[in-house]
């Protein structure tokens, strides 16, 4: 089943065209990695997908429900009530976590399920505890974000996103704000989620991780999708731009 689909998405900021004509769809259970140089529009793509940014033109669907449709060269968004429903389908993990500093770890995870989704507190609590256990943070439930390492904060933010039970989870460079020795713990968590068939779209600069975890890789450059291939194919690509970009990471092809 197609969980997510965007067609012919265009986006510019004051005349600077950032997304030129992007189409992308994601099947249930799929893991898609997006790579590309800085400024190529990867974050903008995720921000359009998660309704943090409005597209200039293009279609956007979740589970076949339109969040926006292209009409006469402009993206026309669904009414707010519809968008609110659609927002429940996805989650987003930020590069710099964006945890709520005045809430404890537990409250960060539980607050939205209780006050946004109006779910039963006891049930949410149980799930939150299970999520914390999965993230290896059971003993940190009552801590505040400022008392945690970057890696722990990012794990909390992943737990916070998962507590909303999204159908699809987007990650925007989840390890870029972390010290090198802490990236591993996040990559491990995401790999674990991939094994559980969580549908994910991951923007990352961690090439080896992208190769290992994804079913499909997308190479973006200057606002367009240059190539969309399986990891093996992409790393063996003969495309000049792809080769040049991957060359910077000294990835060896086996």
């Amino acid at each position: 089943m197609k969980l997510f689909e965007m067609n012919h998405v265009k986006k510019s900021f004051d005349g600077n065209i950032v997304l030129k004509n992007i189409s992308l769809s994601v099947q249930e259970g799929e893991v898609v990695a997006i790579i590309g140089p800085s400024g190529s529009g990867k974050s903008t793509l995720l921000r359009c997908a998660t309704l943090l940014e409005t597209m200039d033109d293009g279609d956007l669907y979740y589970l076949g429900e339109p969040a926006a449709k292209s009409e006469g060269g402009h993206a026309i968004y669904a009414p707010n009530a519809e968008l609110k429903k659609i927002e429940r389908q996805f989650g987003l993990v930020f590069q710099n976590f964006n945890l709520f500093p005045h809430y404890s770890v537990m409250k960060n995870i539980m607050d939205a399920p209780i006050h946004v989704q109006k779910r039963d507190r006891a049930e949410v609590q149980k799930e939150a505890e299970a999520l914390l256990q999965k993230m290896g943070l059971s003993d940190r439930a009552d801590y505040y974000p400022c008392q945690l390492s970057g890696g722990q904060q990012q794990r909390v933010s992943i737990a916070r996103a998962l507590a909303m039970k999204p159908k699809i989870l987007f990650f925007d460079e989840p390890t870029s704000a972390l010290d090198p020795e802490l990236t591993g713990e996040i990559l491990k968590v995401i790999t674990e989620l991939a094994k559980e068939k969580m549908t994910m779209v991951i923007v990352t600069h961690e090439m080896n991780f992208a190769k290992d975890v994804s079913d499909r890789m997308i190479f973006m450059d200057q606002g367009v999708i240059v190539e969309e291939l399986s990891p093996e194919e992409l790393f063996a690509s003969t495309n000049q731009r792809t080769k040049e970009f991957l060359g910077k990471y000294h990835i060896l092809n086996h």
Binding site: L51, L52, E87, L92, F100, H102, A112, C146, R160, A161
Partner: protein, 216 residues
């Protein structure tokens, strides 16, 4: 005049000073928040009006504003001023003046919040009101508390300006007793009162700051 009698006479003034203080905060703190929204509004007209309002309130003496609020209805509209209006005039003038200062403090705090907090809240599905009152405002309060403390301490002392429209609060009472008794004692008592009042206010604010110190 014995100390007890003097204190007794001053007590009425004290109560009124405390009343001005409490009512001013009660009205100006929420009003300031509303004005700060206007000041940050996307609507040019609303933004312009609130900007001018803040500028006038901060750019003219509070004592003059008191006179305008008190005498304005009579001079401008020819409305007869009832005796009871005096107390209202004091609270109205103080509230609208302090709201302007608080508005700028709120604005500074709100604008210092990172975009990421709003975005995280939006992706989690919080409504705009939930985002503001649950996520943003509590963090803003922590950030602006030191500036608010400064204003509140100034307010304690500013309450004495109510004498300018002959509202008999602490300061006016002390001055009257001092004049009739030819004694410094009532003024000294007033000074001690203001000092203790401020000391308590500062202590309470410090306690509050400490309480919010559990995160950074």
């Amino acid at each position: 005049m014995s100390v007890e009698v003097m204190i007794q006479q001053l007590a009425g003034g004290m109560a009124k000073t405390i009343m001005i203080f409490v009512l001013t905060l009660l009205f100006s703190l929420p009003l300031g928040l509303v004005i700060s929204f206007g000041r940050m509004s996307k609507n040019v007209l609303i933004r312009g009006i609130t900007k001018a309002y803040i500028s006038i309130m901060r750019g003219t003496p509070l004592m003059l504003q008191l006179l305008v609020v008190y005498f304005g209805p009579y001079y401008i509209f020819g409305v007869n001023i009832s005796h009871g209006y005096r107390a209202y005039a004091v609270v109205i003038a103080f509230a609208i003046n302090y709201a302007a200062y608080f508005a700028e403090i709120y604005r500074g705090g709100i604008e210092s919040m990172s975009k990421g907090q709003y975005e995280a809240a939006k992706v989690l599905g919080y409504t705009k009101a939930q985002t503001f009152f649950k996520i943003i405002l509590p963090q803003v309060i922590k950030r602006i508390l030191p500036s608010v403390t400064n204003e509140v301490i100034t307010l304690v002392k500013d309450t004495s300006l109510a004498f300018s429209i002959a509202y008999v609060e602490m300061f006016t009472t002390a001055k009257a007793i001092a004049a009739s008794q030819k004694s410094m004692a009532p003024l000294a008592a007033a000074a001690i009162f203001y000092y203790i009042f401020n000391f308590l206010v500062a202590a309470v604010m410090e306690l509050w700051e400490k309480k919010l110190g559990y995160y950074s």
